[in-house]
């Protein structure tokens, strides 16, 4: 055998698995189809979108808020090319960082498309057409996902675009129509909204970011409207047509009332689908379940030496979920017995204000019939938030009615993405709302809102409201 472990796909699941495997003493290979490592997340996902979000956020602040802060700026304008170039530089730094980490951990990186010859042999087809085969004891499939197209309007990558193209545009759209008000749609929608685009969001369900707690979607909707975005909920898109530089989107609501929107770009962000093309799974007898690779509780596929992690298997399509699974599989191969608590994998939306959440949503608790109580605290009542003028948002704590155990933490507001880690920690240790309420939180910080919401959940006794 050439390798103990071979990992196909170098996204956050794959490269983390590779590092952990190497740390555990396995001879490890990493196969990547593209020239750069890091997968969707680093190249065309989390990192570049955050770069654009931050840039556009700075601009929006300069335009909207600096005056109130006593800063007058003249001749403010966006150099979009420079903005995209900076984003590209951030991406380059990150993917180079991964390449360095592979070298440091002595992981062999093979560029090319990896496919199964048999359960222990992987063929790698390089860009230049050359082929090689490697043998391996174990395989971890980490090929990730790609944007799901509308069945009736495939991506033309010019006017009907996915998140990938939305991060590479040459111009700021005049009117960006976003189909799908989930995480990706709301993040990229807010980028262009801040940069001056008219943004219209069409969502099939009755709430934005529909997988998260309903309160968050409603709050986000308020903020988006304030930003000038048009939101159409409960609308089913019926057609998307491109004529020259114009995209026409038609949709209808539940009563069948038609809606027609005209814009210059249409971002389709209705979800992502697992990516398994080219793996030649049939050579090893692995079938797919709704596009995903079925795995057992140890993330093992139907073939005993082949594992799968991240977006290609069940569960939320999140980089940090894939990372946990990469570590999990590596450690299991080394005979260790780690755990992943899937309930406590946080979800984050990088709009501004940010949205973050962990644990059960209120809807889930209602459905399961569990007796719970709620504690909320608005950013408006927070000194720190007033100082920075980030007063939109709230913290909502859900706790068991009888034991006071925290069951869910839902935040929309400045720094929510960083704050949610405290919620994860508390819940991993099964803290009660009062436990958190009795811990000292530094003043003035945004985290005080979490403490106050916990006080509200404990016995409805927040201090500052």
């Amino acid at each position: 055998m050439d390798y103990n472990v071979t990992i196909i796909g170098s996204g956050p699941g794959g490269y983390v698995a590779a590092i952990r495997c190497a740390q555990l003493g396995f001879k490890t290979a990493l196969i990547e189809k593209y020239d750069t490592l890091g997968g969707t997340c680093l190249n065309v996902g989390c990192i570049p979108s955050k770069a654009m979000l931050d840039s556009s956020e700075h601009f929006a602040n300069a335009k909207e808020n600096f005056k109130a802060h006593g800063i007058n700026v003249q001749g403010l304008k966006v150099d979009f090319a420079a903005m995209v170039a900076r984003k590209a530089d951030v991406v380059k730094q990150n993917v180079d960082g991964i390449a360095f980490l592979m070298k440091k951990n002595k992981v062999d990186v093979h560029h090319g498309i990896g496919s199964f010859v048999d359960k222990s042999t992987i063929k790698i087809l390089a860009k230049d057409g050359s082929e090689k085969k490697i043998t391996t004891e174990y395989v971890i499939i980490a090929t990730g996902s790609k944007p799901t197209p509308l069945p009736f309007a495939p991506f033309d990558k010019k006017r009907i675009i996915s998140s990938t193209e939305a991060l590479e545009l040459k111009e700021i759209p005049k009117h960006l129509i976003v189909i799908g008000g989930g995480v990706i749609g709301m993040e990229l929608g807010s980028v262009y909204s801040r940069l001056g685009s008219k943004v219209t969001v069409v969502e099939f369900l009755d709430n934005l970011i529909p997988t998260m707690d309903g309160t968050l979607g409603k709050e986000l909707q308020k903020v988006a409207k304030k930003m000038g975005m048009d939101i159409y909920l409960g609308h089913k898109v019926t057609s998307v047509n491109v004529k020259g530089k114009e995209v026409t989107v038609t949709a209808e609501d539940k009563q069948g009332k038609a809606l027609e929107l005209k814009g210059d770009y249409c971002l389709v962000s209705i979800g992502r689908q697992p990516y398994t093309e080219g793996l030649n799974l049939s050579a090893v007898g692995i079938g797919l379940d709704k596009g995903r690779i079925p795995v057992d509780e140890h993330l093992r596929t139907s073939v005993d030496n082949i594992y799968a992690i991240g977006d290609v298997i069940r569960g939320p399509m999140l980089a940090h979920k894939a990372e946990e699974e990469g570590v999990f599989v590596a450690e299991r191969l080394a005979g260790q017995k780690p755990h992943i608590n899937y309930l406590l994998i946080p979800g984050v939306v990088y709009t501004w204000p940010e949205v973050a959440s962990v644990g059960y949503t209120e809807e889930q608790l209602k459905e399961s019939g569990r007796a719970y109580k709620t504690g909320k605290f608005p950013y408006k009542a927070l000194g720190r938030a007033r100082a920075s003028m980030d007063t939109d948002g709230l913290v909502k704590i859900l706790a068991d009615k009888n034991t006071d155990e925290i069951l869910g933490v839902h935040i929309i507001g400045a720094r929510a993405a960083d704050m949610i880690a405290a919620g994860v920690t508390a819940m991993e240790f099964r803290a009660a709302a009062e436990d958190v309420a009795r811990m000292s939180h530094a003043h003035p910080t945004y985290m005080e809102a979490v403490k106050e919401a916990c006080l509200a959940a404990t016995a409805n006794r927040p201090i500052h409201i």
Partner: protein, 524 residues
């Protein structure tokens, strides 16, 4: 009520302290945290602080030696009038405010328990059944079988469960009539005093409809919150790798949470698990690898764990070694062949070798009392009687019931007693009493074909005789090679209290008595 001040535990090896000096006099008013006395141990001097403000009542005088945990003084919290006397006045309002708040909070919280009690009152009282203290050395039991289901109606004294300790199995009668609520699950190990179940007492026939609390854990007891026994992420991984369940480990974190350190130290599952309930049972079975290389993982029974722990501790804590000899069994076998039918006819029990060995051992023990003695701290306890533990192999493991006063029993009494105990042992019905307090042990590996072995002492005893198989061997008698039935015998002993002379002489004496049974009668 007066606050009782006891000698705090100040160090692992410190068992007692001497009161060096009292800083305050009897009847003085003392402040909280004020140093009221100096205590001296053999290692250091330390200060005793008042745990509460109030009037001091000294119970132990200067110079007295007091064991750890014993009461040395009481502090009567000062009444409303005397309260401010010792306190600086400016502090008074400060101190009173929080007290009021506490009271307010206590009041605010009181309705909950009260209403809970009321709710219970409607359906009668709730009887909590806890693991009874079944024997001196027993700290935990395993719930082997529930004979009644959760929610069943049970009658007073009806047997509701079978419980297994490392020594015996016993039945658990209901302590009240009513509706059973099971807390401990089958195969769960519960410490003595741990909650097994509750019974909602119902006086009349109609079972009262009992409200089921949504979170049953919460009501278990004040020490058991929902979080008790919850392992931290790192602790969970360590436990899984050790093949332990969270219920095997006592959590020392807040509200009984299992910390990483708890998990790292959780090697001996002998530690009684404090939590009365098992959080979500984890699948114990390890997935079998491909091919016929299956392994199985099973939880050790309480008995097995105790055996394992004790055997290792004997090896570690005694100076054990073994001496050997051989016994020509011809005389006994002849005697047995001659009288076994008559013996059986008269006493209704077969004449085996055990009675000979037991008798021989008793005589030898009287002559070499150190072999029948045991160490207790810095003392040696000599026994003027012989309680002989007989090792019996059972499907559940080895047990050692005791033949009491074996030195005073006749051959038939010994045989009947051994037969009775062995039967009970195999049925798992031995009582704790029947297994406690032996002064010397006999084990017979010969029944399985052992030629020679080094038995392990049965603590706190100091010696054990190992019997083996009887094999016809050529031996030299009167310068002639003859074939004789020979048994090798072994005596393992604790060299700390038994010298070589005593152990070897003891074993030689046993050999002498067995080779010439006439000596058994005459005691010569």
């Amino acid at each position: 009520m007066a606050v009782q001040v006891k000698v705090p535990s100040v160090g692992e090896s410190i068992t007692e302290v001497t009161i060096g000096s009292w800083h305050r006099k009897d009847g003085d008013t003392v402040q909280m945290d004020e140093v009221i006395a100096d205590l001296e141990s053999d290692k250091a001097t330390f200060e005793l602080r008042a745990p509460e403000a109030g009037v001091l009542k000294i119970l132990k005088q200067e110079g007295e030696t007091v064991p750890v945990g014993e009461l040395i003084c009481e502090i009567e919290p000062s009444g409303a009038d005397g309260k401010s006397s010792g306190e600086p006045p400016k502090e008074t309002p400060k101190k009173e405010t929080p007290k009021k708040e506490e009271k307010a909070e206590a009041k605010a919280e009181s309705p909950q328990p009260a209403s809970a009690a009321e709710a219970q009152g409607k359906g009668g009282k709730v009887r909590e059944m806890r693991v009874p203290a079944v024997g001196e050395s027993i700290t935990e039991v395993t719930l082997s079988t529930w004979l009644k289901k959760d929610g069943d109606r049970v009658e007073l004294d009806e047997i509701i469960a079978e419980v297994e300790s490392d020594k015996a199995t016993f039945e658990l009668p209901a302590e009240a009539a009513g509706i059973l609520h099971i807390v401990a699950k089958e195969k769960e190990t519960i410490p003595v005093g741990g909650l097994i179940c509750t019974i909602d007492e119902v006086s009349d026939g109609a079972p009262a409809k009992v409200e089921k609390a949504p979170a049953p854990e919460a009501s278990a007891s004040e020490a058991h919150t929902y979080a008790a026994g919850h392992p931290s992420p790192a602790a969970a991984k360590i436990l899984e790798e050790k093949g332990l369940k969270a219920s095997d480990v006592k959590g020392t974190g807040r509200d009984g949470r299992i910390t990483k350190e708890d998990a790292m130290q959780a090697q001996q599952p002998s530690k009684p698990a404090e939590s009365g309930k098992a959080p979500a049972p984890q699948p114990a079975a390890v997935p079998a690898p491909a091919g016929a290389r299956n392994t199985r993982r099973e939880k050790m029974s309480s008995l097995r764990r105790t055996i394992a722990r004790r055997l290792v501790s004997v090896k570690n804590e005694t100076a054990m070694l073994t001496t050997f000899n051989e016994v020509d069994m011809k005389a006994i076998m002849d005697l047995r062949a001659q009288y076994k039918d008559k013996f059986k006819e008269k006493y209704g029990i077969g004449l085996g070798f055990m009675s000979f060995f037991t008798k021989a051992v008793c005589i030898a023990l009287k002559e070499w009392p150190a072999v029948n003695a045991q160490i207790d701290g810095d003392d040696i306890i000599y026994h003027d009687y012989c309680d002989i533990s007989i090792a019996v192999s059972t499907p559940r493991g080895l047990v050692v019931p005791v033949v009491r006063n074996a030195d005073l029993l006749s051959f038939d009494q010994i045989e009947s007693e051994i037969a009775r105990l062995a039967t009970k042992a195999r049925e798992g019905k031995l009582s704790i009493d029947e297994m406690q307090g032996g002064t010397f042990s006999i084990t017979n590996g010969g029944v399985f074909g052992s030629m020679l072995s080094t038995p392990i002492i049965n603590p706190p005893q100091s010696a054990i005789l190992g019997m083996h198989n009887i094999v016809e061997r050529p031996v030299v008698k009167n310068k002639e090679i003859v074939i004789r039935p020979v048994m090798y015998v072994a005596l393992s002993y604790d060299h700390r209290i038994i010298d070589g002379r005593e152990s070897v002489s003891f074993l030689y004496r046993v050999k002498e008595l067995l080779e010439d049974p006439g000596r058994l009668i005459l005691g010569v």
